[in-house]
Symmetry: C2
Subunit: 450 residues, 2 copies
């Protein structure tokens, strides 16, 4: 879900075809081009369909369809917000995927004291977890000469210099105020974003390093127990706070040309080598019983039924997978373990190497209303939800305490709830690329309902 937002928000017009989303992710996270199972595309499609924040539009010709982000729900997440390039852009650095290993695999310590990345971990942590976990970009364990001959890994930059880069994205709860903050960020070899060709304009959504109000709401908000507080969607104009536009280059350009020809913020987008030799799936056999992994939709292999030992073997979960021992012939060659000492593989990378606390922390900060109003890219404001930026959107009855209480809660969720209503009501009449007027706000929808 986060990567899709990264991708779509990297475009000026904030819309992408599915194929373009694939490509963008593959370009920025080579993990997906090289090591990931083809099922990752299934996950992309799944997220596009499941989450209401992603809306599919049909081009005027009715042929192609673009995926967009509901403006009210768009937190304007960009890869820049998550990672700031810490290495020279000279070498055309390849951003590594934010590979977040499960907790267990991080404790793996080889005898020589180094922590190694368990490359066999297929299931990744959520890219932007909702909790207090920390996002840890980890170098992709792929041998550069094998997969990326032109890839020059921008080593080091391991120091704690990135501390100022931490951005809070809407903390879910107050972090138990008395508790000491997590250890200073390790800043483990962050991934690198592409070199932007277009100049950085003032970003529409400016995450800030505003301090979490740890006032009187400390226990109340956390005691909402197992249910998020749902903020009352207020129609008042939200106040954007704490301007600090010196942080990111979110790929949002001011542009007067946001129509079809100005689709690419990133210059290398059009020239797509769509058949990279490293992975060619040539096939003509059907999906179901065949061996080739053509389809990105996983499917059951065949009726070669295996009686699972769920109730047969009394207990024991691991014995199902233990049958295949670790060492596979080409395994280490494909996922080399060497030379990862430059990256901190602490036992708890989420907790120990914080880049930011949570994706919602970015929302916890807001942009200055005045600045936003003066911004030359006022037209783009409709592409970003100021309510979301302000973080919570306190209702009319919200006291300051309430406001802080509801801060940082129910962001994607709230907007997901409204988006299904807006789906297919949006863009009913207009079919052209004028995205500025195509977005119907919540108030418009309410009026429409009335």
């Amino acid at each position: 879900m986060a990567m899709i937002q990264f991708a779509i928000n990297s475009r000026k017009n904030r819309r992408m075809t599915l194929k373009e989303i694939y490509t963008w992710i593959e370009d920025h996270f080579p993990y997906y081009r090289q090591v990931a199972k083809p099922g990752w595309k299934n996950s992309i499609r799944h997220n596009l369909s499941l989450h209401d924040m992603f809306v599919r539009e049909t081009a005027p010709d009715g042929k192609v369809s673009f995926w967009t982000i509901r403006p009210e729900a768009n937190r304007c997440l960009t890869l820049d917000q998550v990672y700031k390039p810490g290495c020279d852009p000279v070498t055309a650095p390849v951003p590594v995927p934010m590979l977040l290993f499960p907790n267990q695999s991080q404790k793996k310590t080889v005898p020589d004291g180094r922590k190694i990345a368990l490359a066999s971990e297929r299931r990744m942590k959520p890219l932007l977890p909702r909790t207090e976990s920390y996002l840890v970009p980890i170098q992709l364990p792929v041998a550069p000469p094998v997969y990326l001959p032109s890839f020059t890994c921008p080593q080091q930059r391991v120091g704690t210099s990135q501390a100022a880069k931490r951005v809070r994205i809407s903390p879910k709860v107050t972090q138990s105020d008395g508790a000491p903050p997590p250890p200073p960020p390790l800043a483990v070899s962050p991934p690198v974003t592409d070199v932007k060709v277009e100049m950085k304009e003032e970003p529409v959504c400016v995450p800030l390093k505003c301090e979490t109000p740890k006032g009187p709401q400390k226990r109340r908000c956390s005691s909402s127990r197992r249910k998020q507080c749902l903020v009352n969607s207020s129609h008042e104009e939200p106040v954007l706070l704490c301007p600090d536009s010196s942080f990111l280059d979110s790929g949002v350009t001011s542009d007067a040309s946001m129509f079809q020809d100005s689709r690419d913020v990133e210059p290398e987008e059009p020239r797509r080598r769509q058949d990279s030799p490293d992975r060619d799936y040539s096939f003509k056999t059907p999906i179901k019983g065949s061996i080739h992994l053509t389809s990105s939709t996983p499917s059951k292999p065949s009726p070669t039924v295996v009686l699972e030992p769920w109730k047969v073997t009394p207990v024991g979960k691991g014995n199902l997978l233990d049958v295949s021992p670790i060492r596979t012939p080409g395994g280490p060659a494909l996922t080399p373990v060497q030379d990862y000492t430059t990256y901190s593989f602490s036992s708890t990378p989420f907790k120990d190497v914080p880049l930011f606390s949570s994706p919602r922390e970015l929302l916890h900060c807001g942009a200055s209303r005045a600045e936003a109003a003066e911004s030359p890219i006022g037209r783009l404001r409709s592409s970003c939800s100021r309510e979301l930026l302000q973080g919570g959107g306190a209702g009319g009855t919200a006291t300051p305490a309430n406001r802080s209480l509801t801060e940082g809660l129910m962001l994607d969720l709230l907007n997901d709830s409204l988006s299904k209503i807006l789906v297919d009501i949006n863009f009913s009449g207009l079919e052209d690329e004028e995205l500025g007027t195509a977005n119907i706000s919540l108030s418009d929808f309410i009026n429409q309902l009335k």
Copy 2:
């Protein structure tokens, strides 16, 4: 999702605790008590959280919390609607789970010509698939003397006598009008609902066997391509059509006492044997690295990492599971294969043994508005969405053609979209059991918004 609705709707007050939902499902689908992995409870909780139609209420004491169904989204699905007991209720029949095997496993034919149930299939088909698949109740492959000494399987009843019982639940598309209807229902040994102690009142939601309008919209509705049409939520009073209350006993009783003491429609609910000897998980070890399957939340076994052969082995998906051969020591004893000739195991049970075409078909029919108005259980009407029953809720601009076009589409989805808004706005003031007034309608919410 369907089973949760079955469970909750079986209660007069239409609310259940999580534990009660577990128990209800276990009681009505012994599969879950006996053969299912403990992860099924995880799925229940997942569905409760994910789908907005399920709303958690907190009892006035603040201790227990009940799960309810948003009235606007409640299609009043009950087990009766899906299955009508075809055998004598004398033997206290145990309903079997609607075990829907994947397509592949149904083609398994033993040399003696009979089709056998591949008990090893763990992943079930969706209980109520959205498509034209058919719901096939299949006898649970558990030896009755082993697990259910008092269980007398009501054999047979295999004839085609249940044909009239078929109910359409909101067909997603017109079924290609020229095509012949699916073969007559095989009526494979349907599961049996419990004997209701309370008298059956006129059900609030009456599914009907109304014919699908296969008129001029044949192509248009199907050409909504990959996106459901979202019906405009109309505030007009929906018209309930096609009264036919002779079909189900949906556990909805008229009742003048719908408060806390009248919680159970089913008499055997209170006396719960909560520690059945057939499954006792005695444990005191933590979850993570331990062997016991105590927790219903699955967890990775341990950092015993297995290097997956995704990129190592060139292709081939099935070789990952083929390592463990079929025959396990106690396997056949637990899942006997004999005596399943009474149940039709056609190669395509969904298509060949239709009970109904799709869950939405139930919605395609409506109840008579007049009848609903005269119903002595008018108070309960708020627990069922008449819009949903009417099937589509055509907006103000909908022509009759449009109405039929949007019929059967966007039901749970539409209501899920609205429910997140209502969550935690419901039941803000009142804390008592008066569920009749506790439900806030959409219009109330809209007014609240205004």
